[in-house]
Symmetry: none
Subunit: 196 residues, 4 copies
DNA sequence: GATGAATGAGTATTCATTCAT
DNA sequence: GATGAATGAATACTCATTCAT
């Protein structure tokens, strides 16, 4: 990696952190360059606009997430665990940036949305493959796989991202996940442990 | 209603329209007062801050929506139709403000989110009552009603608000709705017509 | 004149002075507001953009110049004196703002050009009327009056605005002016005194 | 011509084109180097500042124009045709850079002015020689030749550069040109064809 | 109730220039 | 000869909010 590229990645990481902490709109270019200890011009040497930087930040994140998902997919875990594992890994705020609130705070809605959409697009085919695997193994039985996967993602995001969910939410989620994929009751019960 | 109140409501309606058209952040106080034909001072006589106005705009909307939902609930429709009817009425952009895109556009994500959350809070108990009715009638069979209702709302919003959904999305949605509430297959098939 | 209007005119005058001193492009909004002792917002309360302000500055100037020209036209001076008097009054840098160089300096070329064009448009009909008067009196004899007037204006501007002209320039100018309007040699000789 | 010089001339030509297209101020160094496919540093290896480059661009142009004028002067054309020919050749936008508008556009006023001034300085002596020739041939009869030549140049520039002139402008121009040099009426009538 | 003049901190972006390699 | 990363002062413009009248 060349000098310029390293610098750029460094900037992306700083920006990512600031975006999460204060929100994209609320993070000024000034704040970013101060944090990075560079001049205004240097910033604009690497990024054409602030928005373009956001795209790159998101792109970087997506790449990392999907890579992680690919790993899970290739692991020897049982299919249901794979699926839930991948879904669980999609919450960057948990592992990477343990900043309370983070993506769910109103200032971040825009970024959150963008990330979710792209992440969903990238991860859906991976999850679909896992479901097919499950069907082949007789664990699942369903059609319209991609649509079901996407629906599960949506519910998962909305239910768990807020950080505010009850045991009953989990119970319903499990019930729904099983029924979505036509699994036997109890197949997904392990989620209960996972989430706690 | 006194003169001042009327004026205030008028302002709220103008603001609501502008917020939908251009997004909350992108709508300046200047734009609002110009549209309303009033002076800056007058605006701040009625609203402490622009954000407070947003809250009131949302409040006004919620009230209208829940009132509509209450109407549906008291109607003599079959329970499944009631439920779907209420959910369908939650999309303000369709009936109230026929502005294409509107709430789903990125500028509106913030407002969208706020509205959805509050709307969901307000409407969930109404929907829950409908589900209970359905259980009493033997059409549904499930526990954790509130959680299930909320999940359905989430999926509905995410799936249909974007305006971009396929027949397969609808099929999966129907399947899921039936299973969520423990209804017999086919109970919710009427949705297919409704949505077309 | 209301409070706001007075303020606006004051700003226009300050800006005019600064534009002449430093050139339009080189005069920042910051410089103007500092000189005027007002806040950024106040400036933009009165002017939508800096360029719009330039238009207004120019408009103000044109108005003053043409008014002066009208005065000369109504005076009891001999026609040739009227014409030359009006042309002479068109050089704002001389009487109004005795700033050396001023309009002719490269930074001001743009403004200069704009002013000259508009001034020329406004003053040409006045001068044309004077020429017609001269024709009626048998002093002049020519056709295409407007075109001749405009040509005289052009030459006058280019020759005398630079401030660097010789006696021979004056002699040629006089000769040309006489011939342009078909006057007898010597009719315009008084210019020699005027310019010195 | 050495490698370095060739490169420099190439840069000057690119810059000249860009300056005409977008104006000097509006053409950034970045734009120039991108077009030329060189690095920032290389640019500053050849030119100390952007303004100095402008001077060189203009110098290059002047040289080309005066060379053309010299050619006309040595040609066997009748004197009036020589003079008008030279004047006509001074409009670079016509022959050299067929960019509509070009020099007359407000962004270019500065460069235009600089060019005109220098061009005028360089060409005046050549034109003066032509006039002297005309006097020797008995076609012209006048004094203060240099001043008259310069005045003609000024009028020509202002009248024809804008592209917007009427037949009457041409008529007045011809009349004035003849009188300026003391030529017989009709001597310059050929201009009418030339311009059409 | 209503006005509108005034505020000023804040924003993203531009660009000629430098210099170590 | 040539590179390209780095600079930082400068710029026009926005906008929610205040307050004396």
């Amino acid at each position: 990696m060349k000098k310029g590229e390293r610098r750029k990645k460094e900037l992306l990481e700083i920006a990512y952190r600031l975006f999460l902490q204060k929100g994209y709109e609320e993070t000024s270019v000034d704040a970013i360059i101060e944090e990075a200890g560079i001049a205004k011009g240097t910033y604009y040497y690497y990024f054409e606009t602030k928005e373009q930087m956001l795209e790159e930040v998101i792109g970087m994140m997506i790449e990392a997430e999907t890579e992680a998902a690919r790993q899970v997919l290739q692991s020897p875990l049982p299919v249901p665990q794979k699926i839930i594992g991948i879904i669980a890994s999609l919450r960057p705020s948990r592992e990477e940036a343990p900043i309370e609130g983070a993506l769910m705070r109103p200032e971040n809605v825009l970024m959150h949305r963008k990330i979710l959409q792209k992440l969903s697009d990238a991860v859906t085919p991976l999850l679909a493959r896992a479901v097919e695997e499950g069907i082949a193994q007789g664990i699942f039985a369903c059609d319209n796989i991609a649509e079901r996967v996407r629906m599960l993602l949506v519910v998962s995001n909305e239910t768990f991202d807020q950080g505010r969910f009850t045991e009953r939410d989990v119970a319903v989620f499990i019930d729904m996940a099983e029924k979505l994929f036509g699994a036997k009751p109890g197949t997904m019960d392990f989620i209960r442990e996972l989430i706690r």
